[in-house]
Symmetry: C2
Subunit: 478 residues, 2 copies
């Protein structure tokens, strides 16, 4: 059977993903090392994802603010683990002027900065510095801040959305009077992310704490949400960090407590990024292109009038009118009255993953009917209904698509989580080409034999099992 995307997922998952991005017109590689340009259709998805998460973050009491893009090298240097984690991928600003020298435009040597800046890879340091001024007394705590910004981590092997030098994210940074409060905040946001991914992105998460080996550079505890892709690999979709007093001590975030004693605050940070879009696309899409959950689809419904020369105007006007009715009912709709052929329109919107397709031919217009097809189910769901039924049911149909998409991923994931009793069983499974997550005793991984398996199969510890932290999930990852 011919598919809209070639190769198919089973033929070559990695190339399928790249062609999916192109076919759905989501993004392209930019003429800047490792960076991407997010095209309008891709950015519209991100805006929906962002706006919904922003509401949930604000509902938790965090306030948005905006901190500088550039970080003084001295700030960056104050927390040893942090430097070790990010120095190798830092874009460095060394000059502030260009000059034409010998016919070539180049950094003006006279504008050399005595202290270079790096472009933020994350903002614990510069926000820690601000907090050291903003936090004075116990009355100033908790302080809960968030920002939606671009960050940069130089990337040698970029992949659109999954790993790019510049990416977009929200980063929450928070200070508390006690360690318990800080840890509770990191855990709470971990839960908020999990709910969001389930309810909005229709993606179930494996949720748990990172092992010490995999923690964020400068954290005491890192909580992660791991998604299982269709090829069985893990994608880390979001993390929350309990930073202990690492940053409050490096930056002097201190408060005068009720007992009159000056104490260091306890901080957290948490974030999700455009990487989550990579998960969204890889989790739901199929060999015909993108499949979007209605909650984040720029167009939840596309209306395609099947016109002939003699009825085009009338049918297009009828389709436009139906589009307006749906829009007034709060549905995001696109009415495709372009001059493309109807099958080309159909494939265009299949590839772009619009959840519900509504086709109208001349006879249907006369009968007050339309033909609807669910993107997630394809041809098997194609059937005729009256316009009145569509108007009454459309909201319910979209909600059903959202639920069914989530359930389908849950069912698929169950086939991709494997309990293994020891390293031999793990080794055999990997050698046999078994894909997915492997659940194994954490202590069983703390030896050189496991290190050798990590090297051979490019696997890593994803997180401890929340239900039983003696166990760890192991998988290949993006």
């Amino acid at each position: 059977m011919k598919t809209a995307i070639t190769p198919t997922r089973s033929e070559n998952f990695s190339e399928w993903y790249q062609n999916l991005i192109t076919a759905a017109d989501l993004a392209e590689n930019a003429p800047v090392r490792g960076c991407m340009t997010i095209k309008p259709y891709g950015w519209a998805i991100w805006e929906l994802m962002r706006d919904e998460l922003d509401k949930r973050i604000k509902a938790c009491g965090a306030q948005n603010a905006q901190f500088p893009l550039l970080i003084p090298i001295d700030f960056f240097n104050r927390e040893a683990e942090h430097v070790a984690g990010f120095a190798k991928e830092a874009a460095v600003v060394t000059h502030y002027r260009l000059k034409m020298i010998d016919g070539t435009l180049q950094p003006d040597p006279e504008s050399r900065l005595t202290e270079p800046y790096i472009i933020r890879p994350t903002s614990e340091t510069i926000i820690g510095d601000a907090m050291s001024r903003w936090v004075q007394s116990y009355r100033d705590l908790p302080l809960k801040l968030n920002q939606w910004v671009n960050v940069m981590r130089w990337e040698m092997r970029p992949r659109l959305f999954l790993r790019t030098s510049e990416f977009y994210w929200q980063e929450g940074h928070n200070a508390f009077a006690t360690h318990d409060q800080a840890n509770a905040d990191a855990r709470k946001m971990h839960g908020v992310y999990g709910d969001y991914m389930r309810e909005v992105l229709a993606i179930p998460s494996i949720m748990g704490e990172k092992t010490p080996e995999e923690r964020f550079a400068g954290a005491d505890h890192t909580y992660t949400l791991e998604h299982i892709m269709q090829d069985g690999k893990a994608l880390q979709a979001g993390t929350s960090h309990d930073l202990g007093q690492h940053f409050s001590k490096s930056f002097g975030i201190q408060y005068l407590d009720t007992d009159g004693v000056l104490k260091h605050a306890w901080t957290t940070s948490w974030g999700v990024s455009t990487r989550m879009m990579g998960s969204l696309f890889m989790t739901h899409s199929d060999d015909d292109g993108l499949v979007l959950p209605p909650a984040v689809a720029p167009y939840q419904v596309v209306i395609i009038p099947i016109t002939r020369d003699e009825n085009a105007d009338e049918l297009n006007a009828y389709a436009d009118d139906l589009g307006t009715q749906l829009r007034n009912a709060g549905i995001r709709v696109f009415v495709d009255t372009s001059d493309m052929r109807a099958p080309d329109k159909m494939w265009k919107w299949i590839k772009r993953g619009v959840p519900l397709r509504v086709e109208i031919g001349a006879r249907e217009m006369a009968d007050g009917c339309v033909t609807i097809t669910r993107r997630d189910l394809g041809k098997s769901s194609k059937h005729s209904i009256t316009v009145a039924e569509l108007m009454a049911d459309v909201d319910g149909i979209l909600k059903q698509i959202q639920r069914d998409m989530y359930d389908a991923v849950v069912a698929r994931n169950q086939t991709m989580i494997h309990n293994v009793s020891d390293l031999d069983e793990l080794s055999d499974a990997l050698a046999n080409g078994t894909i997915g997550f492997f659940r194994i005793k954490y202590t069983a991984t703390q030896n050189e034999k496991f290190d050798a398996l990590m090297d051979t199969y490019k696997i890593s510890r994803r997180c401890l099992d929340d239900a039983d932290s003696d166990y760890v999930y192991v998988a290949k990852s993006y």
Copy 2:
């Protein structure tokens, strides 16, 4: 009379502005040369400004997208005027890794980029490059794109919001088949900005075309919106550029026309930035602090219960309940039940410019009354009304404040626009300390005598008069 902000506007406008920003908790200087940190209250104002403008931009058919932060030096170099305009303030990225060398963290020499990047000062070049791929046929036009991003222009004399090295803006970039369409787009957006500033920011604009001397680097026509500050200086609040074929020729943005001929497109760009916040603050505020138009006030109403120890709980609960009622009516409300003294609360919210203050004492609670005070009018507007009246009228009161604030600026501006018949009259007025905009024949400014006046009084041509382009407005500016 004691004022909340010292010095007052008439004593020292520049220092007043700086203290206003601090008193209203809007922003602070960042530990990065020329950059600012926008604090939560300031950023909440920007989010309201941004969301409303974003709606209007989308209603014009532009789609949001996201282009890289970094621009290859070669791109930047392709349009000669553009380079000349921005090279002197470009932050340059030269390395992509840090290394500890002799105990100092510094750019790793081995990570030196053969082609450095600059941080975007504006994105005509990198978007021009994308358009050269995205535009192929007349069917692809018009192409209307917009992005909300941070940009950087190295600033030696920074002032919060007015002039900072990093700032935040939207930049629209558009391609058309004909020059007429491009010019109409630049003019249309000029009008959209004017409407937005009048209706949302309550600021009237002097609107017109820049003279050739003041055009954007690489534009055929630049349309500008100039605001008159309370000290008579001009603030350029937004510009739209008809870029002719400068960028389409530099970047090869070509389309196959209906006649089968390959033609260069015509492009435009237009933008407004966080600088507009500087105008908002300087236009409306007074010696007691910020005054915000209701349309962009994070809290349109603040409720202050005047509690005593014995009734605090009851009164706070009553105030909370009134806050909920107002919120349900769609009003943005803050109920200040903190443990500060009532006068301190009052001054806090006066300084932060909340449009309507609602105070409730014990007797008022018993009587079902509240005392309301408009921020823009101050004490003279203070009076008691019933809660029922408040609920019925609050929307109307806020709308009235929005209108009155605009009308007050219009009236003040009229006293600050001066017609002068020749350079002698202009020179005399400036020597006498007359503040404001001077309207003079454009031809009268095209000589060395005017150049000398520009030097002496730091004045510049702001724009031609839209009603009669033989005349130009001249003023000092921010």
